[in-house]
Amino acid sequence: MSNHEPPGHPSAVAVGTGAAPGRGAGPARAAARLLASETALTFRRPRHLAMLGVLAVVPVLIGVAVRLVAGDGDTGSIVAQVAGNGLVLTFTAFFVMLPLALPLAVSVVAGDAVAGEASQGTLRYLLTAPAGRGRLLALKYANVVLFCLASCTLVAVSALVAGLALFPAGPVTLLSGTTVPFAEALLRAGVAVLYASAGMAALGALALAFSTLTENPVGAISATVVLVVVSEVLAAIPQLSALRPFLLTSWWNAFDGVLRAPMDTGRMGTGLLVFAGYGVISGAFAWARFTSRDVTS
């Protein structure tokens, strides 16, 4: 274990309790272990569980509301579509929740990732463990990505269950007027989940970068949320329409490309590139900041 072990200091065995450090464990398994620990921490935290609960309830509420409105006869299209097919509720849920509800949840988790540990003081113990700064940041981001995937899947599944419970199922009419079998629509919903998760993961990278700048998690979280809201306001101003393609928020709703025939892969592909761009820049900033900063909390 130590090359410098001086003779007459049998200390290595002395203290702790004689576990040989896992030489055979390998860096990948050790990383998987820390990631599992991160994930357990995220999903065991009462605050996050409450948030996920809200995310799961919103699609149900939308479904119930549509059910109530749908009885009134001639109604708007989305309502009619959802009322006609339960699976459409999944897409409606994303349409409603992608602008704010999901970003809010992701900001809370990702903005807290580093700043929360710093404010709690646990960051210094993780680093002296030693978790390794770059390694810890990478695993924290992996955990954020998992959370994005989990929350988007949760919304989709909750909407699907509520939709199938409240409305009939069957072939789904796409936005283009084409009708596809239920199984294909389910597949398209899966693609929408992945796309939405990618969009949220880009926001998560941004929030993580903010998180490395401060020891106050609320600051990082609110900075991210403010950025989302400001982007959405900017995107709504016609004079600033030139800005729109560069805003992260403009690309989230491109998930509706899965509802077109043929699937609008062009726009979704551009969206993924934008997400990757945001992810790379935020990640690089977070890395530079986190690996060079003094941890004084």
């Binding site: 002395a14 203290v15 576990a19 921490l41 003081g121 030693p130 390694r135």
Partner: protein, 350 residues
């Protein structure tokens, strides 16, 4: 006497290394030393110098007391040793590894407690330890249950292992933090104020634990602003004052500065001083007392006792015809030395 002289020097002026900005001097960075720093300096962004040109040597197997008033730079030094804070200049090495470059190799062998306990309030004590164990890429997941259990038992938290950290008392929190430092086989424990805020009972327990760990051969580097604490458990000591190391060495040498002093009350102070000097008591020994050799002060002559026997001195004085009114061997406390090194009222110093 020779010993006293050397000790005095080493206390007064810590060994300074010739090349301050280079890496840790090769002769110091031997396996014999657990921690070596060379010209270690930290200047924070506001321009405030927290640690100034620190040359610290902590021998392996020692229990090193890192003494200094609050705000004297102890915690910043510890943070630099652990790679949490980047030094402005200078270098340090821990267990032979340069820091912060060698974090991954050095820190798995180091247990650290920095600025009090910090854990996840909504996790149990056991889950908290597992969490920090998972962060160490070198720890073995197969033995984690046993190691965590043993660490908890060792600090007497076995019964409270499943309780949420939120519900722990202050003493239990401290003990959990110490348990975290004992999760693996450690060659070095770095404990920053491990008894801060504990009641006397808790303090005693922590002290006993440190002694126990040290008895196993582990190097312990413990910072404190309380001399009494250090005095009771340390073999070596370093004293900080406003970011500078003002003394370091084996505690016996620091105590040497507190060599007993012969105090003679007499009407003929000059005569008494001469006698004391002739006996070899008032030589060049500078360390322990403020007076250089024997002086006359209002009919009082003093000198270091050294190896001499008090009864011989007394007899010699009488033989020489010095009228002795009072004769005493005074032993200044270690605290007197500490206060002299760190200044009065150290607790309010910046």
């Amino acid at each position: 006497m020779n010993t006293a002289t050397r000790a005095g020097e080493s206390i007064a002026a810590p060994p300074s290394l010739p090349d301050k900005n280079a890496t840790v001097n090769a002769s110091e960075n031997t396996p014999e030393n657990a921690i070596v720093t060379a010209g270690l300096t930290k200047r924070f962004r506001g321009g405030q110098v927290a640690v100034d040109d620190l040359n610290l040597t902590v021998p392996r197997g020692s229990v090193f007391g890192f003494l200094g008033p609050n705000g004297s730079g102890k915690t910043t030094t510890i943070r630099m040793l652990l790679g949490l804070v980047t030094p402005t200049s200078g270098a340090c090495s821990v267990l032979g590894e340069p820091m912060p470059a060698g974090i991954a190799r050095a820190l798995p062998r180091v247990g650290a407690l920095v600025e009090g306990p910090a854990f996840y309030p909504y996790l149990s004590g056991e889950a908290n330890l597992r969490r920090f164990d998972a962060a160490d890429p070198r720890s073995d997941p197969r033995t984690v249950t046993r190691r965590v259990g043993e660490a908890l038992d060792r600090v007497g938290l076995g019964a409270a292992a499943g309780k949420r950290y939120r519900a722990y008392s202050l003493g239990m929190r401290h003990r959990l933090a110490i348990a975290a430092t004992l999760l693996g086989p450690r060659e070095l424990l770095i404990l920053d104020e491990p008894t801060n805020g504990l009641d006397p009972q808790g303090t005693r327990e922590v002290r006993a634990l440190i002694k126990e760990v040290a008895a196993d051969g582990t190097t312990v580097f413990v910072s404190s602003h309380l001399l009494s604490e250090v005095e009771q458990m340390c073999t070596h000591v370093g004293v900080m004052r406003t970011g500078r190391l003002v003394a370091q060495g084996p505690i016996a040498e620091l105590s040497a500065g507190t060599a007993p002093v012969v105090r003679v009350e007499t009407s003929d102070a000059a005569g008494a001083a001469a006698v004391l000097a002739r006996l070899g008591l008032n030589g060049a020994a500078q360390a322990g007392t403020t007076q250089a050799g024997a002086t006359q002060a209002g009919g009082v002559a003093t000198a270091e006792l050294g190896d001499a026997l008090p009864e011989r001195i007394c007899a010699a004085l009488v033989d020489e015809g010095v009228a002795v009114r009072g004769f005493a061997v005074v032993r200044p406390s270690l605290e007197d030395v500490y206060v002299r090194l760190t200044g009065e009222g150290f607790d309010v110093e910046s």
